[in-house]
Amino acid sequence: MSSQIESHDDVNDGKTPVRTGDADGLPETREHDPFADPGLPAHKPRIQDLDERAAKRSERVVTLLFTVSMLATVGFILSYALIPIDAITYIWPFGNVSPLNFSLGMTLGLALFCIGAGAVHWSRTLMSDEESAQERHPIEATPAVKAAVMEDFRKGTEESGIGFGRRKMIRNSMFGALALVPLSGIVLLRDLGPSPEGGAPLRRTMWEEGTLIINENTGQPLRPEDMVVGSLVQAMPEGLDLHDHHFHEEIAKAAVMLVRLEPEDIKDQQSADWGHEGILCYSKICTHIGCPATLYEQQTHHALCPCHQSTFDLSDGARVLFGPAGHALPQLRITVNEDGYLAAMGDFEEPPGPSFWERG
């Protein structure tokens, strides 16, 4: 055996089968074609194949791995039973972590890993590693088989009368029936949701003439003097409560942000007119896909959407400066009511949020 543990580079002793594609396959083929297939190299025995002590060592390693796995499973059960779920422990280098989660994961991981490592080590060191070849067979059927199938098919169609124009009416009406029957399933999907009414619900928000503007942080109606120049306040319409059934649907359209600018910094006259003493109220729902676009840069008056980085210039009618948004943030016309509170002068003039087909 040991005489075979030499480089297989020069195995040409006739012991290995020469499996060349050439028809002659004689030993001198190599002389004719230096690139001929030399055939499968001879099997190189491993140390475990030659030395029983090495094989024993491998056996012990595999057994050890399986034993460690068993111990790890016991560890898992103990961790589950003993470690409180709310404990927090410092574990280097992970920091303060849940010791329950940590030990459950590590013991489970170890139990599984050791089974895998044991099985792989077993197969690599102790099971035979002799390679063998299996022939492939062409997938395509032989002409005889194909002819037989075609004949069977012809017989079948003839017996059913489906082909050759004999029972065309049956065939066509069957296709018709099969084509129509799925329609029932499609019709059933109609009530998945209500009609979009040409986008009407997307245009309408809770803002009406006189609706007070509620500061999200304080829950109180905003007054002009609550806002200093350079500040931004997140707000929502009066009458909207977190516990309302439709809170999410309403806030998804009605959420606004107010900024206060120096009136001379406002570049767009209409925008200035729609505000109050430099206080401008914009929809904060990005016109791209609807994230709240509220990363505000005080010095430049830019508002950035953290989702796709659309940037709006709040001093210039919230027009789009950069990014994938297609149009400006809608502005809400505001005024001050007789009690000195900021209030809307009506709903948005254009629908807030992402655009849609009927938006116009």
Binding site: L100, S123, I139, P201, G290, P306, A325
Partner: protein, 547 residues
């Protein structure tokens, strides 16, 4: 006089072990011996890259196991409740039952957090595995006849895996996943003509409504995994039926498969590998937190956190959306066309279709109708390899765009500059990468040719008696020589004479002209370096074989 011939009755040996008796019983009902005869010692070839597909399979099994566990606790409902669990910062906060039950799994179910993390890590690994597995199949040409259909099955599995991931990470209804759903709403709204209808039907009313999570849930736990399971079984059956490809080498031809038998070696190796994968994921989950939904809070449409990123496999679509300029137009009739979203929505599937349909494209270009069971070395198919790497660079650009905020923060770059870089690179980079990759492949082919003809450089410099220095080359072994020259080098296609044998002008359609042109790019002088011929080899080895 019955003519029925009964098969010879098999005697179960009286002293047979119990296992054999059970097998006999099963064989009488299921024919297990016949199945085992053809499969038990089935040969599987060995190569590290063949493990990539196995990783996907195992990740899928782990996903099913942990996923079933999670459904025992998860409540797929958007009904608002006040949180009363043990996570103090959220106590008293109004949130959906979906989010509350996710917190409950994380803080009140022992091992629940671990299962959530194993589930999420496996999902990431699953899609990573699919990508790498597909790269292996693509770059070795293992998609060629007869495996094109299995390539499509695999591709469908990738698409389904991405959809399952999307519906899965949307379920906890935390601030981040809610933003993902909002994104979906915006994307659906941008569909021309039927966008608002689709939005209303998908969400059951206005965004967000109270139906989207239950609907995603059923897709995530039943519909999509069911489809995947079916496709997966078909995928594996075809692997068994076609037999695995192997790399060319001594004794390894297109007509055989060389390796080790399923039983016992592959059962032990592949079975063991499942436990290795599971074990490693469990340890990752134990030590590395993923998607800590409790820090984000419940979803509210008017709130957002920064660094909002989808899971990595959707970074590509995210990037397309981020790099697209905000083009929007009102077309005659007063309808809005939101190209800023529509274009990425169309480009996204198209980019994927390129890779799905590539095998059919190559089959059309090469007109190669033979069965291929030898995995090609990527260098020996330079044009295909270049297409693949160019596609990856395309993907990479969009991935960078998808994380442009993160790149901007970590590398202290302008986000606008990064976005502009991605906009330009999306068109330019794949072309550059294509050219470079092809050149590298050709260079490697030249090196192989050199090695076959002149042998391996030993690094030994020898001084001859008359003072000349030569570098000693060692001739390659017959095995290596065969492995380096076993690949086919098809001849480039020709347009053929402009007149047929009777002198009648032949009509060659523009499509055929195009095909021949592309084919020459694959197999012409710019597409492959001729491998050494026996004459060249003999001339060189007999000429100055004194090295």
């Amino acid at each position: 006089m019955s003519t029925t011939t009964n098969p010879p009755k098999r005697e179960t040996r009286s002293g047979a072990p119990a296992g054999e008796k059970v097998a006999d019983w099963a064989d009488g009902r299921l024919g297990v011996y016949t199945v085992a005869k053809s499969n038990m010692r089935k040969i599987f070839p060995d190569h590290w890259s063949f493990l990539l597909g196995e990783i996907c399979l195992y990740a899928f099994v782990i996903l099913l196991l942990t996923g079933v566990y999670l459904t025992l606790f998860f409540v797929p409902s958007m009904a608002e409740i006040e949180y009363e669990g043990s996570y103090i910062p959220m106590q008293g906060v109004l949130m959906s039952e979906a989010y509350a039950s996710t917190l409950n799994i994380s803080f009140d179910v022992r091992g629940g957090l671990l299962m959530r993390e194993i589930h999420h890590w496996s999902a990431l690994l699953f899609v990573v595995g699919i990508f790498f597995h597909m790269m292996r199949v693509f770059f070795t040409g293992a998609f060629r006849k007869p495996r094109e259909i299995n390539w499509l099955f695999g591709f469908a599995l990738l698409v389904l895996a991405i959809l399952t991931g999307l519906t899965g990470y949307s379920l906890p209804d935390d601030l981040l996943s809610g933003v993902g759903i909002r994104f979906m709403e915006g994307a659906i709204l941008s569909v021309p003509v039927v966008g608002t209808w689709l939005q209303m039907l998908v969400f059951g009313g206005e965004f967000p409504g109270s139906l989207i999570i239950p609907r995603f849930f059923v897709a995530h736990v039943l519909l999509l995994p069911g489809l995947m399971l079916g496709l997966l079984v078909a995928h594996l059956l075809l692997v068994v039926y076609h037999k695995h490809t192997h790399f060319a080498g001594p004794g390894r031809t297109n007509d055989n498969v060389v390796g080790m038998p399923l039983f016992p070696v592959y059962m032990a190796k592949a079975g063991g590998f499942f436990f290795l994968v599971f074990g490693v994921i469990a340890m990752i989950a134990a030590t590395t937190s993923i998607n800590p939904v409790w820090v984000l809070g419940p979803y509210r449409p008017d709130q957002i956190s920064t660094n909002a990123q989808p899971d990595w496999y959707l970074g590509f679509s995210e990037g397309l959306v981020r790099m697209m300029p905000g083009w929007e137009m009102v077309i005659p009739g007063g309808y809005t066309l939101n190209l800023g979203l529509l274009v990425p929505l169309i480009v996204f599937p198209l980019v994927f279709a390129v890779i799905a349909l590539y095998p059919f494209f190559e089959g059309w270009v090469t007109k190669d109708k033979r069965e291929h069971h030898i995995a090609e070395r990527p260098r020996n198919a330079p044009t295909r390899t270049a297409v693949g790497v160019a596609w990856l660079s395309w993907y990479f650009v969009a991935l960078v765009a998808g994380g442009n905020d993160i790149w901007a923060i970590h590398f202290d770059l302008s986000i606008n500059a990064i976005t502009w870089w991605t906009r330009i690179s999306f068109f330019v980079l794949p072309v550059i990468v294509f050219i470079i990759t092809r050149r590298i492949c050709l260079g490697l082919q030249r090196r192989d040719r050199e090695k076959v003809l002149h042998g391996r450089e030993t690094g030994i410099i020898k001084r001859l008696p008359h003072g000349e220095f030569i570098e000693v080359h060692e001739p390659l072994s017959a095995e290596k020589r065969y492995a380096l020259t076993a690949h086919d080098q098809p001849r480039p296609a020709e347009l053929g004479p402009s007149v047929d044998e009777n002198g009648v002008p032949r009509k060659v359609g523009p499509l055929e002209r195009l095909r021949v042109r592309i084919n020459r790019g694959y197999y012409g002088p710019s597409g492959q370096i001729p491998k050494p011929t026996a004459e060249e080899y003999r001339e060189i080895t007999s000429g100055h074989g004194h090295h």
